[in-house]
Amino acid sequence: MDPTRQLLDQILLEVGIAAYVTGALVLFGYFLTRRPLLRAIGMPLAIVGAVSQFAELGARWWMTGVWPLTNLYGSLSLFSACAVTIFVVFAYRYQIDFIGGPVLALAAIALGYATTWNEGYMPAVPALQSYWIKIHVPIVITAYASFMVAFCLSLIFLVKAAAENHYRRPSAGMRAVAAGAASGANFDVALSAYVAPPTFGNIRTDTPALEAAAADGDATARWFASLPSLAKLDVMQYRVIAVGLPLLSLGIITGAMWAKEAWGAYWQWDPKETAALLSWIVYAAYMHLHTRPEWRGTRTSVISVIGFASIVFCYLGVNIWISGLHSYKM
């Protein structure tokens, strides 16, 4: 391998990691302070990181003639690049810049972990020498990446909902007065208020306790209140998952078609296949429950978090720890 080309590969990789780490710090700063300047710096860093990663994968392909997604390094690289790209697109379309910190931090972690699997330039084993690898793998990885973005939105939803619950608790004095009255002070934040006649006279105000505390000068409450409404966060999650689930479905279908061509059966109950099915089931449950107003909100956000945990299990757990047709372990 030409050392100059290897150097190019290395430089692009390091630019990607540096851009993600710096971008994550800057966008976390934006998340905490809402200073537009930090967003103006962080978003270009996110774009630089994603572009350099795509360029690095392209450079690998160009240098070796081998499709770069034949190992965990390549797929994790694509995963982080896709996650950041999806974040940037959604940030542009739906103003979700505030999750840039966690998204870029996770992308940096994924890319850093990927480098531990970078064995160099390996030719593909016979099973991977198929045009399907250029179709199936990017689709599945893009689905995983969109679920990661949805996961970040879900976390922020849950944190804001928890803050609302916290501020809804009566004060100590109020608690003393209310002692004995089974008031159920800590109640779950669901979005049913959007469908039922607005409880608080304003359908956008789904965190009235936070906003009341913010109006009283509570700095923490003011910060939480400045996040998008819970309903908005829920819709954003839904939209990102609505990108991921069809892609995951398409990924499972293309994987089945490839398996049919390579091994003679489109479904073999391989751990990877079944783990992907498991993730699909979780997100299908999310979609079904999201049709129910009383389930929309905290519960669907929890399912989104569970869904991403199942994706991590499917993506890394199965590949690394469980033997099967997709196993990376030796």
């Binding site: 099973a127 003679g264 049709t291 389930w295």
Partner: protein
């Protein structure tokens, strides 16, 4: 149960048969979304168990891999073969029942709703715009406004009040049905395979012929070749398989022989039965002597995992695996799988009890004791194939496409309905009340609704005192 009939006479409703009540309760239960989701959760849990617990292994494997109570639990509950267990198949059946019940009792009636009047103010997404002109002309203008923007406009009269309904992406209300139809097609295609298809596997030694029993197709393996390259990585040299290829002659039911080159990812189609390159291995010709004289041993080259009994003893020899290169320095298997300095790993048994194992270089007889000597004389490459005839594939493929289409329709085309009521305003002009509903709640349509109201306001000639009132959610649209 008391009921009042249409003619005002009180009467007793006909008794509903208990069976009918039970059936209705059952259908209601299965159509209940949380129940369906609980079935999905159970399916997911069983699938997770199947991922974690190795499937289809010998019972002794679980005894070695897990603590005895867990191993017993796995075997007793059929968790070692969970995907074919009654519980797993049953849960899928229940999910299909739940889908059917929900489709016919909830999805169809709710997805294609009738045109009914509503209380505009009670719908969270609503707005009122005051426009110029009388109600009749304003109604016509509003209808033309929505029709020009691609909305399907319909007018109805309820109790003397005229209503205008505008629908967008009404066709997409069927998306959920389309997605579920995809599942039905996939299930149908799979059933066709179970009913009419077949599959199996076989291995053929170079120079030999195998027959597919279901259709009589023969596969004569002329030659099997592989390519394994040493690749320098950061961790050292690894031996990477690059290619496996079988050069064969395939004779189908028509009796015509065809040359076939079968590779991984490139199956050969023999009259609709696909033959796949699956695996390969090294079969070994074993020779056995006692006191220097040949005695009966295996009558054919053994593949990995096969064995033979030693006549006149309780002992047996199993050929476990082929070693391409023996590291002469250590006497252990080397990293290079290519047969440079090959050997075989064998295991000796006394009855069912393992009594010892050894790595034997090829062509170098090893003493088994009591005068017996075993010689792994030579290896013969064999090729392992899978075959499958699956007439259900086109239906499964169609089902997959329909499923994807249904998902895309459901997720990317939002059916929305606007309820428009135009009345003469007390102070002159007309009052246009507009409310919106979608199949996915209100928040998802809030921005679009605000744009629509803004467009109505800008397009319509304003009443002398223009006023727009909205819910606080649309406070920016003033």
């Amino acid at each position: 149960m008391e009921a009042r009939s249409g003619n005002g006479l009180a009467g007793t409703a006909p008794a509903v048969p208990p069976l009918r009540v039970a059936w209705d309760d059952l259908v209601r239960l299965f159509a209940h979304v949380p129940f369906g989701v609980s079935l999905l959760a159970t399916w997911g849990l069983l699938t997770l168990i199947g991922v974690i617990v190795e499937q289809g292994k010998d019972p002794s494997f679980y005894g070695g891999a897990y603590a005895p109570p867990i191993a017993r639990l796995i075997l007793r509950l059929d968790l070692d073969n969970i995907y074919h267990s009654a519980a797993y198949i049953g849960i899928i059946g229940l999910i299909l029942c739940s889908m059917a019940a929900a489709t016919f009792t909830k999805v169809i009636p709710r997805r294609i709703p009738r045109l009914n009047p509503v209380k505009i103010d009670a719908i969270p997404l609503h707005a009122t715009v005051h426009v110029a002109g009388d109600a009749q002309t304003a109604r016509e203008r509003i209808a033309a406004f929505f029709a020009a923007r691609g909305w399907q406009v319909r007018k109805r009269e309820f109790g003397g009040t005229e209503w205008t309904f505008a629908d967008k992406n009404n066709w997409a209300r069927r998306g959920v049905l389309v997605a579920h139809l995809g599942f039905v097609l996939i299930a149908a295609g799979t059933t066709i395979y179970w009913a009419k298809g077949y599959s199996g596997q076989f291995a053929v030694l170079s120079g030999q012929t195998a027959t597919i029993p279901e259709n009589g197709t023969t596969v004569a393996l002329k030659r099997f070749a592989y390519r394994i390259d040493p690749v320098q990585t950061k961790a050292g040299t690894v031996y990477q398989p690059i290619d496996y290829v079988s050069d064969a002659t395939v004779t189908g039911r028509d009796g015509v022989a065809h040359d076939a080159v079968i590779r991984v990812n490139h199956p050969y189609d023999a009259n609709g039965t696909l033959i796949y390159q699956a695996t390969y291995g090294f079969a070994i010709d074993f020779g056995l002597t006692k006191d220097g004289r040949p005695i009966p041993g295996p009558d054919h080259p053994l593949k990995e995992g096969e064995g033979f009994a030693i006549d006149g003893t309780s002992r047996a020899i199993q050929y476990q695996r082929f070693v391409g290169t023996i590291d002469r320095a250590t006497g252990q298997p080397g990293a290079d799988p290519r047969p440079n300095d090959p050997g075989v790993v064998i295991q000796a048994f006394d009855g069912d009890r393992p009594v010892g194992g050894a790595l034997i270089p090829l062509g170098q007889p090893v003493d088994l004791g009591a005068g017996y000597k075993l010689d792994a004389a030579r290896y013969v490459l064999y090729s392992g194939f899978q075959y499958r005839y699956d007439p259900g594939i086109p239906v499964v493929g169609l089902g997959a496409l329909v499923l994807l289409a249904g998902l895309c329709i459901s997720f990317y085309f939002l059916p929305a309905r606007l309820f428009v009521q135009v009345r003469d305003a007390a102070g002159g002009g007309a009052e246009v009340g507009i409310a919106a509903t979608t199949v996915r709640g209100y928040e998802v349509f809030e921005e679009r609704f605000a744009e629509i109201i803004e467009a109505v306001r800008l397009t319509e000639p304003a009443a002398p005192q223009t006023e727009v009132t909205t819910t606080p959610a649309l406070g920016s649209v003033v």
